[in-house]
Every structure is written in structure tokens, then in C-alpha cells.
Amino acid sequence: MTANLRRRKLFSRFFEILCGLAVVIALIPLAMILFYVIKEGAGALNWDFFTKMPKPVGETGGGMANAIAGTLILIGIAALFAVPIGGICGVHLAEYPSTKFSSVVRFAADVLNGVPSIVVGIFAYGLVVLPVKRFSAIAGGVALGFLMIPIVVRTTEELLRLVPGGLREGALALGATRGRAVFGVIVPAALPGILTGILVALARVAGETAPLLFTALNNRFWSTSLTQPIASLTVQVYTYAQSPYDDWHRQAWAGAFLLVMIILTLSIAARLAVRRLERMNRP
């Protein structure tokens, strides 16, 4: 082996090790965040957290019942309009994948996915809050819905494309129209995957804080009214984290723990659903 080759091999080895190191470096913060969220959060999570209202300043205890309900209402509103729009848009992209229109829409969905959530919050503020001059659950739900649409679009499209082509051909051969073939055969085949995809999208927007700050605002009290400001887990965690009270910090960690757990569970479920679809594709 010439000295030159030895040098090049050493050089190669060095960079390979650096790449491995990069993985380790990225996993350190992940491990630390999960560690702290579990350590600080799991202990603070108790029955009261789910069932009690926030206590006034100075009193310890209480929970986030109103914020949990608020988050559920907000993502419910979001899903109500984001799922049909995003889902049908995804169907269109999967059915007509290479038309010019589809390329433009796909591009727009990707761009929308990259628009900062706070900007989408301003948009929802202009659409819903300004005309009636009141912060409301609807405004927050609309903001989250806009954020959800591109995720639903792309997940639906990707999953529909995983459906074996034979299914479509079979349906068409039996004389089904395009609509029947899609909604009667292809979408049902991908449905478990699409539904988990939607759940992941929901978990994703449930973790959003910025667009809620000036749409849904916050609410110290129990409220399920759609036209009133409403509490949410994330905004509550944000408020508590910035407070000087230890008990509020404890509850903020509990909220963070809950959010992370929901997201972890759903993303694992989504993995399994995609794997199942991929297995269908194999002969």
C-alpha cells in the first residue's frame, strides 16, 4: 500500500467517524428533552391534572381540565374543514399526478407547509377575529386547520399511491366510474393509513402555540363556547412556563409530557399503518 493510499484511507475513516458522531450529537438533545419531560412531567401528571380547573395564583394544586377540553375543541374545528379539503385535494393529486395543475397545487401545499405558523395565525386573525372584533375558539380552530391542510394533502396523496394498481384496474374493469373506483375501492384500501395520518396531523397542530396566541387567546375558566376565547394546553404551558411559580412550572412540565406522549403514540401508530400498506404492495 502506498503512503498516498494509506493517507486517503485514513482520511476516509476520519470522515466516516465524524458522520457517526453527528448522529450521536443530534440524539443527545433528543434524549435530554425526553428525559426531562418524563422526569419533571410524569411525576406532576395526576388525576387532578385532567379533572380540575386551574387554581388562583398562590394556591397549589389544580389542573388543566379546561385547557385539555379547549385543545380538543380546537383540533375538532380544525379537522372539520381541513380533513375534507386536504383529503379531497390529496385524492386529486394522487389521481392526476402529472398534470400541470397538480404540480402547482403540490408546490403550493409544500410552500404552505413551510409558512410559519405565526403568519397563519395572523391570517386567521384577519379572517375571523377582526370582522367580529372578538377572539374565539373558531378563530383558533381555523388557524390550526390551515396548518393541517398541507399535512393531510401530502399524507393522503402518498398513501393513496401505495395502494396496489390492480385494485384500481379491477374496479375500472368492472365498469366503475373514476369516482366510484376512487371512493369505493382505493380510498377504503388506504383508509387505516389515511386515518392515522390525520391523527398525526391533529397531534401536530395540537402542539402549536404561536397561532393560538391571538386567535383563541386563553381562558382561565371553563368554556366550550365557540365564539368565546378558549384555553389550550400549549398556550397554558406557555403562560405557566413564564410565570415565577414553582407549582405552575410543575404543571407546565406535566402538560409538555402529555403533549409528547400523544405525539409519540400517534407517530408510532402511523409507522405501523404505513408498513401494513407497504406490505400489501409486495407480491
Binding site: I88, S102, L213, Q242, L259, A270
Partner: protein
């Protein structure tokens, strides 16, 4: 005959929903412009070049926020890019096959953690650590303008660190996908010419260069618009300074903090104008990034499926 008209209806019907997505993007730009007219007409270009931010006398200049946003995003990019590329290379080229999926899953998980959780962890765990680091900085270094300022913990350094962690998964998952789609003939040719492993990887990177630049820019776009985690650790003090230790402010953070306090219309319009600029910058960055990734896609036979992971299942 009936069938083809049914098919047309299906195409138009679903197409209408698809058009809505396009409409939303245009709508955001339109609405933000409309809601910031007062500020646009009153201050013009001065808005972007001056540093006064005085809601009481109604005088607004957004320079410190633009500075803070660009500075923090660029710092984050400098920290994140080598790591993200290292991860992408390791997972797609070096890692044992068995480890690939779990490692990809774990690094993508970083993208799934909500911003508020990053912020919480940042405030209570990372900021105290950064403070220790700042206190321990030798005095000789503190003479440099880069390290001037009180050791508060919160500030530009903390923001850049947390942003770097947050954008790594976005850049690395796209870069990974790009590398996976580089035709193996490229690497085989390099090996055949006697290249070492790293030299062959360099060939693959060269082939996917435009896509990898796109991946990095995608991360940059994320860093520019990140709000809550940054708001919680950057210190929220508008100043144009190169110091890593001094608290600063970003465009997204000022909107998050002051939007509900904006009592008069001009104040509100000024904040929305900042949002408009943020929108324009991030859309431009995202467009260039996607075009670069797509141009890469056209050069390979196998289609690059933009990872669903990055958008949804992370």
C-alpha cells in the same frame, strides 16, 4: 359517454378542493398586505431600515427584528448543516442496514416534538447551561464583540442552539432522501476508479448537490419562522448587535409578544407588516428549496418521494 362525463365531474370536483389550497397561499399574501396598508404607506422603506420601535408615539422601524431573525437563523444553519448532512450520510451510506430505520425514526422524532416543549426545556435546562458557559468564558475572549455582554443565559446563543436542534431533522431527512436516490452507478464508478469510501460519498454528494442545498434551505426556512421556542430563550430585547451573549429579538417573537397588546391600528398594521415580510421571505426560501429538490428529482430515474415523515409522521 356517461362514464366520461362522470369522470370529468370527478376531476373538476376534486380539482376545486385542490384549487382551495392554492387559494389559501394567495389569500395569506393578500390579507397580510391589506391589513398592513397603514404602516406600509406611512413608513415605506424606512420601516425596514430604522430601529425605533415606539408604540406610544406611533413610530415604527423593524430593523432589529429582521436582524435578530436573520442572525439567529444563519447561526442555527451553521451549527445544524454539518450535523444534518453527517446524519444523512451516515444513515444512507454508512450505517448497518439494521440500524437505518430506527436511526431515521429517532432523528425525525426531533421534528415531532412541539415547539413549546423545546421552549420549556430551553428555559429550564438549556439556558442555565448556557449561562454557565458564558460565565466560564475567559476574559480575553470577552473582549471580542462576539462575546460581549452580560452572562444572562437567555440571548442569541441560546436561540441559535435551540433553533439548530429544531431544524436538523428537516434538513437531514430531505438530504437522506436525496442521497438514497443518487443512482448507485455513480458510486460504483467511483469505486471502480479506486476511490475510498469517503471519496465515493463525495461523488454522490456532488451528484445530489442541488437537492442537498435545497434540503439545507428548507431548514433555513424553518429557522426563520420558528416562534415560541425562540421567544422563550432569546431575551426579547430589540438591538442590532453581533454579540452572541446579548438578548435580541426576532420578527416572529415580536408578533407573538405584542400582537394582543397592539391598541391602535397603526401599531397592529406595523406588526402585520412584519408578518408580511416573514411570509414573503419564507415563501421565497421554500420555493427555491423545493425547486432545487425537484430539479434533482428530474435527473434521476427513480422518483424521489418527498418524505412523508418530514411533513407528517415524524
Amino acid at each position: 359517454m356517461r362514464r366520461s362525463s362522470d369522470d370529468r365531474k370527478f376531476r373538476l370536483g376534486t380539482g376545486a378542493f385542490a384549487a382551495l389550497v392554492l387559494l389559501i397561499v394567495i389569500g395569506i399574501g393578500f390579507e397580510l398586505t391589506r391589513q398592513s396598508m397603514l404602516s406600509i404607506t406611512k413608513f415605506g422603506l424606512k420601516f425596514w431600515t430604522t430601529s425605533t420601535w415606539d408604540p406610544v408615539s406611533g413610530d415604527f422601524g423593524a430593523l432589529p427584528f429582521i436582524w435578530g431573525t436573520l442572525y439567529s437563523a444563519i447561526l442555527a444553519l451553521l451549527l445544524a448543516t454539518p450535523i444534518a448532512l453527517g446524519i444523512a450520510i451516515f444513515i444512507s451510506e454508512l450505517s448497518p442496514r439494521m440500524l437505518r430505520t430506527p436511526l431515521a425514526y429517532l432523528t425525525d422524532l426531533l421534528a415531532a416534538i412541539p415547539s413549546i416543549v423545546y421552549g420549556l426545556w430551553g428555559v429550564f435546562v438549556m439556558v442555565p447551561f448556557v449561562r454557565k458557559l458564558e460565565v466560564a468564558t475567559p476574559d480575553a475572549l470577552k473582549q471580542l464583540s462576539l462575546f460581549k455582554g452580560p452572562p444572562l443565559g437567555v440571548g442569541m446563543l441560546a436561540a441559535a442552539l435551540i433553533l439548530a436542534v429544531m431544524v436538523i431533522p428537516f434538513s437531514s431527512s430531505v438530504a437522506r432522501e436525496i442521497l438514497k436516490n443518487v443512482p448507485s452507478a455513480q458510486r460504483e464508478a467511483a469505486y471502480a476508479l479506486g476511490a475510498t469510501r469517503w471519496e465515493a460519498i463525495k461523488v454522490a454528494i456532488g451528484f445530489g448537490k442541488s437537492g442537498i442545498i435545497g434540503a439545507v434551505m428548507l431548514g433555513f426556512g424553518r429557522a426563520l419562522g420558528e416562534t415560541i421556542a425562540v421567544t422563550m430563550v432569546i431575551g426579547n430585547s430589540p438591538q442590532v448587535t453581533a454579540s452572541l451573549f446579548k438578548p435580541q429579538y426576532t420578527m416572529a417573537a415580536v408578533i407573538a409578544n405584542e400582537f394582543t397588546e397592539a391598541a391602535d391600528e397603526l401599531y397592529l398594521h406595523a406588526l402585520i407588516e412584519i408578518g408580511l415580510l416573514l411570509f414573503i421571505i419564507t415563501v421565497a426560501v421554500n420555493m427555491i428549496s423545493r425547486l432545487l429538490i425537484w430539479s434533482m428529482k428530474r435527473r434521476v430515474v427513480a422518483p424521489i418521494v418527498m418524505p412523508v415523515i418530514e411533513e407528517a409522521t415524524a
